[in-house]
Symmetry: C2
């Protein structure tokens, strides 16, 4: 199977299109790196780029992007709603096919080492690449943002970076580099205008407040439609599949006499996450992905090339 | 998008492995033709080969296979449970990606013309490639099999082939060449030993007896498990999707106090047929296949190669 790693770096620039253009170009300049998506949010003043590459090239592309970002973004002048600590704020490596999580952790370490040695940007390792449990959570790591970390990195032991000396880059700050499973942004819409119900169901379904282990959730109003939404991040779709969260929300909604009117996937979803849904609802026996025509075809093509 | 046609020729030989080996080799010898599957049934004395190729090469591979079959199979000596009329009995062309049904009909005509001009095997066009409504159905076309067609082809107008003179090939018979949507073999298992219930539900769900337009169905016993099965051919999964047949069977079973214990896909299924199931049960809003990571990746790869 072809080895593919996904990388989704976040940059602290969501307004100047030309800056993002140059960052994207520096990724595309690396052989075999393919940019799948880019999204900028002016309110957050932040952009997210999604690209894929082989394990041999993915770090090169990530470091190239971080170098461009360090040249063009000055964090001392950055303002935006979203918390941030670096010009390149986070670099997660995600196993897509033919690659293990352990390999992605190893890539995060190589990337972290290069960020310091080549760009003088210190690095925290996070999520599956974290070197201590309290660094797994990005929000904890980023507490106080660029300003607090700049002030405390030299003096507070818990702020010490995993790679680099105890000083942030003067304008590019510090970057969190990690490895994690694919994340799916998944929302379920409810036929009520009462946002409290969405909030209650979000608390029931999310891990933090007693719900499903790999679900983060919040309740929102969709004012233009006069309905509400349970908005989720499915942080490990193999551990907690979409259908399980969907069915749980449907059942909780019933308790308030409310119905699910639909759900939506925001951005990208791995094919396997959808296949698991079909498998569940059709109650499939002995189903294998090798029965999917496109899957078999890809396998046969590789064999005939080998 | 890459242009892919699937071809699933059926051969009247299910016992002599070496014959099928040679047929498969003659397909593989055509550049770009990839064999995905082969299955032989000794009782039926029949084999099914599944391969894919571009529209430019798929006919070449089908004719090459038919040529080998004509050299190695003598229909005058063939016995088996399954009805047949040719050494190569049927050749359906199926649009998989980047190809329309009309293109597959055109391929069937080119193939039919070559079967006669190169191999002296006459051809009936069937299903979407049929030249008259009564030839759409393969079973109607094959009535009386090789023996009856041999006797009647010269004298009965309705037996006249679409390509070739009014005589069958002395040992290779006559072949049905056509175009059709992908076929999915899909079974639903019921928690009862009463095969009559499976039969009643099969009659409710199948087109022929008032059910869903693109479903063929029969009831069977699964003796080893002590349960029964509604066994279906989904002949057009876009017209009648899997979830609709599944839900209908579930509801009909309830009426007898019986439950669905599982379902199974036999052989290959196109990815889109599974995606439609996930879309239905999650009640997805505004979902596009372009949101599937692998789909986006394939598209981006092609762009970067172009």
């Amino acid at each position: 199977m072809r080895k593919i790693v996904e990388c989704i770096p976040n940059f602290s620039e969501g307004c100047r299109t030309e800056v993002l253009d140059q960052i994207v170009e520096s990724i595309k300049a690396v052989p075999g790196a393919v940019v799948l998506d880019r999204e900028s949010d002016p309110n957050h003043n932040r952009s997210v780029v999604t690209f894929v590459a082989s394990p041999d090239h993915v770090v090169e592309a990530a470091v190239a992007a971080a170098k461009t970002a360090a040249q063009l973004i000055d964090l001392t002048k950055h303002r935006g709603e979203h918390p941030r600590m670096g010009a390149t704020d986070v670099i997660p490596f995600v196993p897509i096919s033919g690659v293990t999580m352990e390999e992605c952790v190893a890539l995060a370490r190589i990337c972290g080492e290069r960020m310091w040695s080549e760009l003088e940007i210190p690095v925290y390792l996070y999520e599956k690449a974290a070197t201590r449990p309290e660094r797994e959570n990005l929000a904890t790591l980023r507490k106080g943002q660029f300003e607090a970390i700049s002030a405390e990195i030299a003096t507070i032991e818990s702020r010490r970076p995993d790679f680099g000396e105890t000083r942030v880059h003067p304008t590019a700050g510090i970057t969190a580099v990690g490895a994690r499973p694919p994340l799916i942004a998944y929302n379920v819409n409810l036929d009520t205008a009462d946002v409290e119900i969405a909030g209650k169901i979000a608390r029931a379904v999310r891990h933090q407040t007693g719900g499903l282990r790999y679900v983060k959730a919040l309740g929102f109003e969709l004012k233009d439609r006069g309905i509400v939404q349970v908005s989720m991040n499915m942080v490990n779709y193999e551990g907690t599949p979409l259908f399980r969260a969907f069915e749980m929300i449907k059942r909780e909604a019933e308790r308030y006499g409310v119905r699910v009117v639909g759900s939506e996937i925001v951005g990208l979803i791995p094919q396997r996450a959808l296949n698991a849904v079909a498998d569940f609802y059709l109650q499939l026996e002995k189903f294998s992905e090798d029965q999917i025509l496109e899957h078999r075809l890809a396998g046969a093509m590789e064999e005939s090339e080998a």
